[in-house]
Symmetry: C2
Subunit: 221 residues, 2 copies
Amino acid sequence: MAATVFVSVSMSLDGYIAPEPVPPEDLFGPGGQDDPAVGPWMAQWMELQQWILPLRFFRENLKLGEGGEEGRAEDIARETFARTGASVMGRRMFDAGELAWPEEAPFHTPVFVVTHKRREPWERPGGTTFHFVDDGIEAALARAREAAGDRDVRIAGGAETILGYLNAGLVDELSIALSPVLFGSGVRLFEGVDAGRVALEQVRAEPTQRVTHLTYAVRDR
Amino acid sequence: MAATVFVSVSMSLDGYIAPEPVPPEDLFGPGGQDDPAVGPWMAQWMELQQWILPLRFFRENLKLGEGGEEGRAEDIARETFARTGASVMGRRMFDAGELAWPEEAPFHTPVFVVTHKRREPWERPGGTTFHFVDDGIEAALARAREAAGDRDVRIAGGAETILGYLNAGLVDELSIALSPVLFGSGVRLFEGVDAGRVALEQVRAEPTQRVTHLTYAVRDR
């Protein structure tokens, strides 16, 4: 049985999945908060992720402490985590995460990083191992599929990596937590999408307290 | 009791409310179909409007004949029509509509056209009268409010007109029929939005057969 390859991201109503980029060292490194762009970046990021930050799942997974919200949003976050047997991400997402994630990185599965630089696998406590794949997105996906077994493969980000898989016809499902916020600028999810190739079929739309969870099956046109 | 000022549009998942513009004479004028951009424009437009074209309401209102789909989408279309006491639109939307609408224009209420050119009111059979307002968007809205009585005012389009009202803090409610289609290019609804001013509150999200109907209250930040 082939695993489903899915994307699951939070998106602003005007189509952004991240604020205008700021160097990750400034966001997450020591002393970087002197960059005046950091405050607005964090504020936008928190509005975008407003549905996930208060959840019990999120607090547990990032070791932020006890408590947190329960309910349908919590269930959706846990279902997404539980179905994921392996993740694929771009090199820039990894570089930022390397600074931002706690020592126990929040994946708890193999993660395949699409990169041009060879590097030995990097094993973290808690079950996350990062593998660095330097022979293209298809090779990274093949390795993720194998590692995922009968669970699904998540294309984690960033936008350029997601779009690469989408335009190559390699994504089966697109799941978007649509946040009630307008960014006006930032990183667009669909910038450069091959609209002549990618067709969508609406599968589900479910509002929770703060956002609307949209699920689409992805088809070739 | 002040009327609600609302926007109700269909939007692609990547944020477009119209395909890349084509001269309206080519779209709707005689012989214009020689423009090779017309076919793709029509195809995208129909995908965007896929939820409304098959409805009984739409067929009746544009005099396309008997029959048509019933159900929740039909109810939503009828509710939107019934609440609207007056509409406001930009000059380019009017110019295109003047070519496209049947003699009995589909508004059946006063419509206020924001323009720089004076023109006498233009009365159509069936209750639509177009009034041309040359002293700005606030004046057009004030006249529409007065004409609407205790019904609501719809800012009908196009994107630039909607954005003008949104950025001026004059819109109370944003209603979007989110179509499962990616355009890749075209006319973006939120291009140039004043993200530091416009805040949204999620009110409702309801999938029907083909699209998801999203409703937001608009607030000042």
